[in-house]
């Protein structure tokens, strides 16, 4: 068979059921092979960036590897953003790109681009296939590397003539990668030390990151928290990894986390970091972050240990077994942590989320509260978001009790992630209603994928929290740049999002009041079609509380009605 056919046979052998992509010259043989037949569904995106984010959304919603396909040159460079996003958020991704014919490589041929070179800093590994006989081995290794150890993106670049070459295909059963040895279990002595540290703590806390989801270790996390009566904060990446309506869940740490969550993390005497990496958006000023705490750090990636915050007790290993063994070693808590849990509950009562309820305009936070009322805590709803204020409000106001029900771009902060990620999530969870909470700025970066959602029958609900501004930039300019607003006004009415949605064959609705929004959302959640709701909200709203960049939890700025920004004319 040809190299192109072999790629499809490899995908089938890996159990891939869907891939996302867009054809072009150098990948034509692969698309020709698709036309000859494959069990793998191809979802045709409108832009390769969309295809990449769809593959990410698919991977995050399913827990499997996402696959995307693009042609050489611009097709491949359009994948760079999703690859970087997947790298930062440890999302397993196999990206297949076409390349110019081998004899043209290095000649600046049409649509030639050194995509393996460009992506070196943002992939776990990449391969430029130079001999068709290597192809099955490379594909096998690509899937292996993407999902073992710390998950992440890999890239396979296949020149056009390699795709066309005939050879004898067989898929290798094993993979030979002498340099790739992810840890297989945590060191028992370290796990014992971790258990001792937790047992000795008066104010312990589990600080949980996205690694728990990648490790499929949410059950083990729940068991550990319950056995030790340990409070749990979950980062943006881990939202839903621990049931948020559970009494031990104490919110989300970081820049826009509630004050009580940050208080709990910062005043803990033992922090057990679980698949989390002490990101600057979580810690703020590092020297002031949880200064009294002993850190137990559980992670599959040894390089995360003491990268940012010194780990007093490091445990490197797969979280599923590490959490299980840690729970086994831990004595049941009895009542030891009850005073601490009461203290956190008191903070929770003292520092609730607040926002201004003045004026006639629809408040963005109210939009999220209605979303929470109608869609929060449901097993059959998956949320995705873009990046910015709406994302932080989504984190604050939505309850996610189920792993993989909240999918957002964390590390890279990629505006435009929400819509394509929702389409990918829908492909993974056809049973679920997928709701993308987007900003108007974000939406305009990838809105063309509405065509994909409609034509590929992957219906999604998009709620545009439309304040007519690049809202988070506006907030920073207002708070930290003396209100000098610079290049942030997008307008609330151009484009007309409802008409735009209709032009794509979707349902387009506009809501300017809470009642209108509630009605629109009720309609959208049961429509079974792609629906875009343009929720026009008060542009003055800032996202609070906020710990300014580089500041500490004690510097938290809270909502203050007396300091309301006056809307510039």
């Amino acid at each position: 068979m040809t190299g192109a056919d072999a790629i499809l046979r490899c995908l089938e052998a890996e159990g891939v059921t869907v891939m996302f992509g867009l054809p072009g010259g150098a990948i034509l043989p692969l698309y020709d092979a698709m036309a000859r037949g494959t069990s793998v569904r191809h979802v045709l995106a409108r832009h390769e960036q969309g295809a990449g984010h769809m593959a990410e959304g698919y991977a995050r919603a399913s827990g499997e590897v996402g696959v995307c396909v693009a042609t050489s040159g611009p097709g491949a460079t359009n994948l760079v953003t999703p690859i970087a996003d997947a790298w930062m958020d440890s999302t397993p991704l196999v990206c297949i790109t076409g390349q110019v014919r081998t004899h043209l490589i290095g000649t600046d041929a049409f649509q030639e681009c050194d995509i393996t070179g460009i992506t070196i800093p943002i992939v776990k590994h990449s391969w430029l296939v130079q001999d068709v006989r290597e192809l099955p081995e490379v594909m096998r290794a690509a899937f292996h590397v993407a999902q073992t150890g710390r998950s992440g993106p890999v890239l396979v670049d296949v020149p056009r003539d390699i795709q066309e070459t005939e050879f004898d295909f067989s898929y290798p059963e094993t993979v030979s990668l002498p340099g790739w040895k992810p840890p297989r279990r945590g060191h028992p002595r370290q796990i014992t030390a971790a258990a001792q540290a937790v047992a000795a703590a008066e104010r312990p806390i589990l600080y949980v990151g996205g690694g728990v989801l990648n490790a499929h270790a949410t059950d083990e996390l729940l068991a550990l928290a319950e056995k030790g009566r340990l409070p749990v904060v979950t980062t943006l990446m881990a939202k839903g990894a621990f049931p948020e309506s559970h009494e031990l869940h104490v919110g989300w740490p970081g820049m826009h986390g509630p004050k009580w969550s940050n208080w709990a993390l910062n005043k803990a005497d033992v922090i057990v970091a679980v698949g989390a990496r002490f990101d600057d958006r979580v810690t703020g000023k590092l020297s002031a972050f949880a200064p009294g705490a002993t850190v137990v750090h559980l992670d599959i990636d040894a390089a995360e240990i003491s990268k940012i915050r010194h780990a007093d007790v490091p445990v490197v290993g797969p979280l599923k077994s590490v959490l299980h063994e840690l729970a086994n070693e831990l004595e049941p808590a009895q009542d030891r942590t009850e005073p601490w849990l009461r203290q956190i509950a008191d903070w929770r009562e003292a520092y609730p989320l607040r926002y201004g309820e003045d004026g006639p305009l629809l408040k963005p936070q109210r939009v999220l509260e209605v979303l929470e009322e109608l869609g929060g805590g449901r097993d059959d709803v998956v949320f995705t978001t873009g990046v910015g204020q709406h994302q932080m409000w989504a984190m604050q106001y939505l309850t996610c009790d189920r792993p993989r029900s909240f999918i957002s771009s964390g590390g890279l902060g990629t505006m435009g992630y929400g819509v394509p990620a929702a389409i990918g999530a829908k492909a993974a969870r056809p049973d679920a209603t997928v709701v993308c909470i987007d900003g108007d700025g974000c939406f305009q970066m990838t809105q063309q994928e509405l065509a994909t959602a409609v034509l590929e029958e992957l219906p999604i609900v998009v709620v545009i929290v439309n304040n007519g501004y690049l809202g988070m930039v506006r907030q920073w300019q207002d708070m930290f740049f003396d209100e000098r607003f610079s290049q942030i006004h997008l307008t609330q009415t151009l484009p007309n999002y409802a008409l735009l949605a209709q032009a794509y064959g979707a349902v387009g609705l506009t809501a300017e009041t809470e009642e209108e929004f509630r009605e629109a959302l009720e309609q959208a959640l049961s429509a079974g079609r792609t629906v875009v709701i343009d929720a026009r909200v008060d542009p003055r709203e800032h996202c609070f509380p906020m710990i300014p960049a580089g500041a500490a939890a004690v510097d938290t700025i809270e909502f203050d009605a007396s300091e309301r920004e006056v809307l510039a004319p």
């Binding site: 393996t116 070179g117 070196i120 800093p121 776990k124 590994h125 990449s126 430029l128 130079q130 590397v145 150890g149 710390r150 990668l177 002498p178 340099g179 790739w180 840890p183 060191h187 002595r189 370290q190 990636d301 040894a302 390089a303 240990i305 003491s306 990268k307 490091p314 490197v316 290993g317």
Partner: protein, 170 residues
């Protein structure tokens, strides 16, 4: 503080770039770099000299271990390892200066690699410190060109050759 790392990598296209790119991306400056074959045709050795704190060194080692092509990373600790470097130095030398320069070179074990009417090319294999000293010594005579390979190292022959220095218990 300066450290020498000896890194065994698979002899595959791009392996060197993946290693050096990691240094650049994480903000570590490579002071010298030497790459070449080993006793195995499918394995290359990269010897890297880097100036960084101990915690950064641990981070570098761990980040390198994550690269698929990297087989082993070891620090070459002074006293436990042999480090050598090759330098070629073109020094201005008219006929009247030749004898003096050659005598000086002999004291360092440097050889005359080439001789011309106006200059001499010396080759010197030694520890990087010895090469520094020789360089300093000939500089006043007119050092026209200098090329150094960067240091190359191995663990000493007696014992400890295979001593791994894990920084994290795995």
């Amino acid at each position: 503080m300066k450290h020498t790392l000896s890194v065994l990598v698979e002899n595959k296209p791009g392996a060197l770039m993946r290693v050096t790119s990691m240094f650049a991306r994480r903000g570590y400056n490579i002071e010298s770099l030497a790459v070449g074959p080993t006793e195995r045709h499918d394995v290359s050795r990269i010897t890297i000299r880097v100036d960084c704190a101990q915690t950064s060194l641990e981070q570098i080692e761990k980040q390198m271990h994550k690269l698929v092509n990297v087989l082993r990373v070891q620090e070459l600790v002074p006293g436990e390892s042999i480090e050598r470097e090759l330098a070629l130095l073109k020094v201005a030398a008219t006929a009247s200066k030749r004898a003096e320069l050659i005598a000086m070179a002999e004291a360092f074990g440097a050889r005359v690699a080439d001789l011309g009417a106006e200059s001499i090319v010396f080759e010197l294999v030694g520890t990087p410190e010895q090469i520094d000293s020789f360089e300093e010594l000939v500089r006043p005579h007119g050092l026209k060109e200098l090329g150094r390979t960067g240091r190359l190292g191995l663990h000493r022959a007696a014992g400890r050759a295979n001593k791994n220095r894990p920084t994290v218990l795995v």
